[in-house]
Amino acid sequence: MKIDKNPSSFRDPSGFVFSDQNTILRQISTYYKKNYQLLKSSGLYEKLVEAKLLIPHSEVPDTFNFPETYKIIKPLKIPFISYPYEWCFSQLKDAALLTLHIQKKALQFGMSLKDATPYNIQFLEGKPILMDTLSFEKYEEGKPWVPYRQFCEQFLAPLSLMAYTNITLGKLTQEYVSGIPLDLTEQLLPLPSKLNPLVLIHLLLHGKSQKNYTRISKKQKEDHAFSRNALSGLIDSLYNGIKGLHPKSVKTVWTHYYEDYHPSYTKKSRTEKKEFVEKYLKINRPGNLCDIGANTGEYSQIAAKNGIVTLSLDNDPTAVEQNYNRIQQNGEKNILPLWIDILNPSPSIGWQNTERSSFLSRLQPDAILALALIHHLAITNNVPLSFLADFFSRHCRLLIIEFIPKSDPQVQKLLQNRKDIFIDYDQNSFEKEFSRYFKTREKLPLSACSRIMYCMENKGTV
């Protein structure tokens, strides 16, 4: 029996997550017994699960003999675990609003959240969901909201920086795993943002208070109670303020890629490309797929429509934002857009460098879609074709890839200001390098352009 304790589940003594032969389970400690019973008996669990706000679970027999165990539960499996530094603005915003919404609901049932971190939220069927069943505790009237600081540093600070300073500052959450310090946030925020009451109260004045008050006596605590109305007002103030935040609009090269900047494709070649992708996804029926360099998710949608759970990656946060917003508008369920630069995917971070695992260690797709991608990796970023073939072979069984030759106008553009040092970048070298690891099942030169589509199958086991 192989039991692995999850390396990120150690801070809260209420329980921990572990895996037993690929099944994810959660131990509930006797320490948390009363709160778990209240969560169930109050009707809060049922209400949240019914509204798809909290991950459902079933109670399973305890055959593990962990000390101090009250129960073992089996939560519904999340297809892919992602982290806040991999989310676009609206994903983080929706996760923040969900957290506050759950706090409001919990109060109605006599409970309160004891932590409020984006790491407790995951995406399931396109929507954020709370995955930490042990986040609730009995509400004690008079007590301020314990996770207020955590919420402001882990949700509000990055959201405000993305909205007012620069959308790429969301990546600061990777550096500051416990939350972005409020004094740093204040330094980075521009003056106009400081007129927003949300920023002024919850980040600036809050930050000043953190600096000015370092001690509190027991008497001070008891003399000043924090009423239920005050707590509700605090949550409302955060909720309404965050609802009004929007990402700083940036038009990047990628956001209108297909419409504005793409002389390489005619309508016909785009249709051919889509048909090729759909045909080989239907034939091979991969269990899940990763679309690398997905832009706004045009091709990910083909996979998703065919019932394939799809990760849709792009290194442009604005493109990821558009992808996510469309998913929300259309109620699409099979796509998870993530803000990932495949040249520098998220590393393992946190305690012992294992608390939050690296992106590539979590990436185990059955199939990879690499369309209009390899010229950016090989030419813009000098990654040799042999490295690319090796990379794809490590991560998928099925590869649908587009080769873009030097004669293509897009590649010409990449080469216009630099010396062409890429003597091996041609169709023959591409096929030679990839044939070391893959068997080509189908090859289709797109008409009206010089690009070639390939469907390849890994020769070995991944």
Partner: protein, 80 residues
């Protein structure tokens, strides 16, 4: 002898005092998270503001609710 009795009384009193102290401490049985002193005090300072805004808003909502046609009320995202 008298000295011994006094000592044991003092000891009992101290023990009693310690017990009272522990039982009177606020119960943070599950607060594994440090709320941060500044963040804790900040909420207390603004309690009046948040409390009164919420009180006013709920009052307005209730008054508005009196005039709303209940038959057309639908569950909104907020009510989920």
């Amino acid at each position: 002898m008298i000295q011994k009795i006094t000592d044991s009384r003092i000891l009992k009193l101290i023990l009693f005092g310690i017990l009272i102290y522990f039982f009177s401490l606020p119960k943070h049985a599950h607060a594994y998270l440090d709320p941060g002193t500044g963040s804790y005090i900040f909420q207390i300072i603004l309690a009046g503001l948040f409390g009164s805004i919420f009180f006013l808003k709920s009052g307005i909502k209730k008054i508005k609710g009196l005039f709303k046609d209940k038959s057309v009320e639908k569950e909104t995202d907020e009510d989920r």
